[in-house]
Subunit: 471 residues, 3 copies
């Protein structure tokens, strides 16, 4: 006995009739705006070669750590889900069986943003009208599987149907960007750009750091174990990424720490961290120094700098050992922006031509640190509520805790930051609705006029992202 | 001129008409469910010997540190309230005078959960229909005092009237559990079990630690100043507690720190902390090590492990000196779960047969640490909003900050965690109502279907506690 | 095309009809109560000499760091705004041009408390009925400028029109209080008192610390580089401030740290910090020690002690260098009250005749530390939501996070804490409304009776401030 799946037109809006009516009116201004996705992790191969997706499990479960972390937390093993192991092997599981396992445990997602996104995809993209459960697992599998085999569900077709004006992916400096080149060469009109994410070559704790430097040397023809040439190589790669369309860099350090070292100190530290024998503090200080270098290069080349700090990556040692990084086991930790960013802000905080976008996983910093910083420093803007906080409650907490102190105009609108391509419109739908919920609160309590709110709704959904990321 | 005391049928529900109607419907599913109280601090003697309670002051004020901390904060001394001193003496105060003092200051509790619980007890249990104030102090005292002298208000009668299916108390390993034995021997049908709280013998900073080890030795016939025998003694006591019905252990350390020491390191550290000459760090590391040992023993014997960290116990030096521990002067402090639990999770985080329930007094950890941890690790579940946060606002903050990230199914439902026996139904009433408030919010904004919410309401009120505590 | 500026009678009240009706009724009890402003930073010269304010820019923009920080964050330089430089010079800008720049960027303040306060002043004080924008900049400038030239807009006339019963300013011990003396000598009935803020002479990191001690010596006729005489000088200045009407002291340290040093240790530390060669820790420890001394002196002389910790002052090095302190670049940082206040509370926490009012910029401490502390210690009370949190959302977060744990009666009502004299009624209007919003929430959900809420509304708006500050 399956139950109806319906997307209510008023979903997420307040049940207060005054606020709901305002939110409905505001939402009309933004519902159909094109999608700007200035930061994310989709795979450029999809758009380069436009091949059909393999099957529902391969598309919707196996790449989505939001999904399998929750299943794992309830005792389902990663092998049962067919998650690839770090040695390259995969448990021999039938995609349909994995889907059934997922369907049988779909209640675990009740009230989570994953359920919102998935239901949106099921309903809007695949036009399914019953809820997912053990009973409907096969109907779902077949419906989605059949759709995926058609042209209408190939990556470019979905990109266009999704009304995506721009989509940014994220690549390492070691990436040759051949898929992006293929997109450009193809003559397809969709705009897919990259972003420069140098963690593998500026974080000494990154797996294979030294090998990564050697690869960087090969790509650039420079000796990347020599500090001066190393910096030159980074400049060269940034220029290449910019030429290929990138407008931003991205930095996922454990902390937001920055440091202002002399060239001599920096060079000595570089020699230490490339010697292989370095302390935790050496690694941290080198990352801190390199954020400063990256800011300096951004001032030169105009790339917008994104800082995504504060995740304890790969917290589960056993999962990391057997399945590798990014397996749903990253855990946020407390972050200090006030002291950590001071060296950077002392040097570059007042530059008129530098854009730094701050993100956080530590919500305590919203009103205590990030709002006050962004409401003062010309170079700083606030990224949206991120990752675990990319959710209705997370968005409301972010907005309510920052808009009074940072002001709306020091925000950059929404990032979907996702690997889950199919969910992109669902995520923007949620973000736009929640912005309307927040603005309607302000209007209904006479803290904002409705015409101001309508302007802000459009800014938050569209304009701010284009401006902040120089798109 | 006394004013009416009434418990509104819709108390705590949102005034939004849509949400209130949903909450009313959800509450019908849970209002009369039996009470599962899997963690608390009531006195087993009450149920063992079923004697009448002495008087209103002795029952409702003197054992309740929630009540006298607030009175103390406004300049009323503990002697005026007849709180026993650590030397065993008590100021010579008339219980009726203490009650009058309380009544004259009852306005101090406006808007606090204590007022909610007390008013519920006054209205429902004692059927009083005027508010407590100076004017009604004597009416209250006489009404309650007379009731307490009757059979209907003896502990077992109240236990049955309260529809308590199971009540857990908490005892030290040094407790012989003779009162629990007396309950079992009595043939009474009420189910009162114990829980194993080893702080006095695993925390070197606990008052009388060495003496406690000696007592443990006497009870077990082992030499508890010998590390190997000490561990054996703990195993033996755990087994005895389990035999007596315990299904859980409980740990109230200052932090959540855990450590993975070698047997040799552990033994040396044990020798240090039992020598009497040890540093703060030695004590902290020993507690950290013993949490790891306790987790290992839980894996062996199946006892569910509860971790209640983060209270700075007995913060008021003068009150501690004169009146001893647990006098309303425990203050939460910032807690770090991400690093502190890492050693434990590295070793046991993926065990399918281990249940660890995490609590916190540091609400900043809800969305930053605990939600992400519980939403990934199979061994972890989240206890409810605890102690200072066992309140309408506290519960809402907890639910709103965790359900999206941890998911509802990584929660354990409600704990009343109280010494105040009479307030148990009031506390469960508040918790069930606030869960309905939260679920109604989700339903009214179309984040959850009402049939899903109804299932969750029952799970949160009843099923989750039974499952998580293996009851 | 300019749009109407209107102050809605129901502004800030919930749009929920039940809650709004309750809030309206509660607000009738407090709307017209006199203003008690027990802590702030207005200039006593205004009231001493009662001269006309110069022009709109000089009055409303240039002294208000809330305003120019936001403009600065969006790339407007402090020179463009005519903010004085630390060398005493000022960029040659026309006040009307500055006003136009402000008007053209007024949208930046949408949804901020600054907009609420400014719009209130524009509407209520200057009776302007169109919104501020580039189009209306000149109308605004002329209207305000003309008004300021009249007697009705002189400081004392506004003070009386504003129905201010008492206004406290804040002065350094080095201040001779000649303006306060002039007020007293003038025979004017307005009550303007001072508060004792000794940071310049007890914080070794304060600019000119040694010179400040020398000045303190000159004022008191004591050798303030001698520790005993230094303490005597502070006692003497406190007595003088108290004689001039002060009822409180105020302390703006980077942290809430306190220390209990022996006289010998304190004297040695004093010698170190006055030698000019001292470490960060020396300075911190000296501040910690002096908070203890100040508490001891408060016990002697009865001055209420306010602690405002946790701001990283003058975070922007370049702005500090060129424009000096207090230029909108103070950033909050994480604060620990539980450990930091322990020495002070160990010594004085149970004193019946000492009042210490705690403030915070770190909202994480509301429910975790400050609520529990204030709900236990007799000497502690909680100041209102402060500075960046003096806003509708900030006030709601504060009330919702503290009232259940600290209780309403451990609060001190509202402080406007402002330099912006014209905004004082706007700020109290916001605070009174938000208290009614919060109380209405509690009444509508049956957590409080309406008659109790009405009493509390008056207490929060008026009585608590008078009691806590001994006015």
């Amino acid at each position: 006995m399956s139950q109806a799946l319906t997307l209510r037109p008023d979903r997420l809006f307040s049940s207060d009739t005054t606020q709901r009516a305002i939110a409905q009116r505001l939402f009309q201004h933004v519902e159909t705006l094109p999608i700007i996705s200035p930061h994310g992790h989709t795979d450029p191969r999809w758009f380069a070669y436009d091949e059909n997706f393999a099957n529902p499990t391969d598309l919707l479960i196996q790449p989505d750590h939001y999904v399998y972390r929750m299943l794992y937390s309830q005792g389902i093993t990663l092998d049962e889900l067919g998650i690839p192991r770090s040695d390259g092997s995969v448990a021999d599981v039938d995609p349909r069986e994995v889907w059934r396992l997922f369907a049988n445990h779909y209640h675990l997602f009740r009230g989570t943003p994953s359920a919102y996104w998935l239901n949106y995809v099921f309903s809007r993209v695949f036009e399914i009208d019953v809820r997912l459960s053990g009973d409907t697992a096969d109907v779902y599998y077949d419906t989605i599987n059949n759709a995926l085999a058609t042209d209408a569900f190939k990556p470019r077709a979905l990109f266009e149907r999704y009304n995506i004006e721009l989509l940014a992916t994220t690549e390492s400096p070691l990436d040759e960007l051949e898929h992006h080149q293929a997109i450009l060469d193809s003559g397809w009109s969709g705009r897919v750009i990259t972003a420069f994410r140098p963690d593998p070559v500026i974080d000494p704790d990154f797996e294979g750091f030294i090998d990564n430097l050697k690869s960087l040397g090969e790509i650039t023809g420079l000796d990347c174990l020599n500090y001066t040439q190393y910096l030159q190589a980074l400049r060269q790669r940034r220029a290449y990424f910019a030429k290929m369309g990138a407008t931003s860099t991205d930095h996922g350090h454990p902390t937001a720490r920055t440091a202002d070292l002399s060239t001599l100190e920096a060079e000595q530290l570089f020699n230490t961290v490339t010697s292989g024998a370095f302390s935790k503090e050496d690694a941290e200080l080198f990352r801190a120094h390199m954020l400063m270098e990256m800011a300096g290069m951004s001032l030169e080349d105009g790339l917008v700098m994104q800082i995504h700090p504060g995740a304890f990556r790969n917290h589960n040692a056993r999962v990391f050992e057997h399945y590798g990084r990014d397996k749903g086991a990253d855990i946020p930790s407390a972050t200090d922006y006030v002291s950590d960013l001071k060296p950077l802000l002392d040097r570059y905080g007042n530059e008129p031509n530098l854009n730094i976008i701050l993100f956080t996983l530590d919500e305590t910093s919203y009103s205590r640190e990030l709002g006050p910083l962004a409401g003062h420093y010309p170079v700083l803007k606030l990224g949206p509520s991120w990752w675990f906080h990319d959710s209705p409650e997370g968005m409301l907490r972010f907005r309510r805790s920052t808009h009074e102190v940072a002001g709306f105009y020091n925000m950059v609108g929404f990032n979907d930051d996702t690997r889950a391509f199919l969910s992109i419109p669902a995520r923007h739908d949620m973000a736009r609705r929640m912005d309307c919920v927040h603005l309607a609160e302000l209007v209904a309590t006479h803290r904002l006029e409705e015409d101001e709110a309508a302007e802000l709704a459009v800014d938050l959904a569209y304009n701010f992202a284009k401006q902040a990321y120089k798109l």
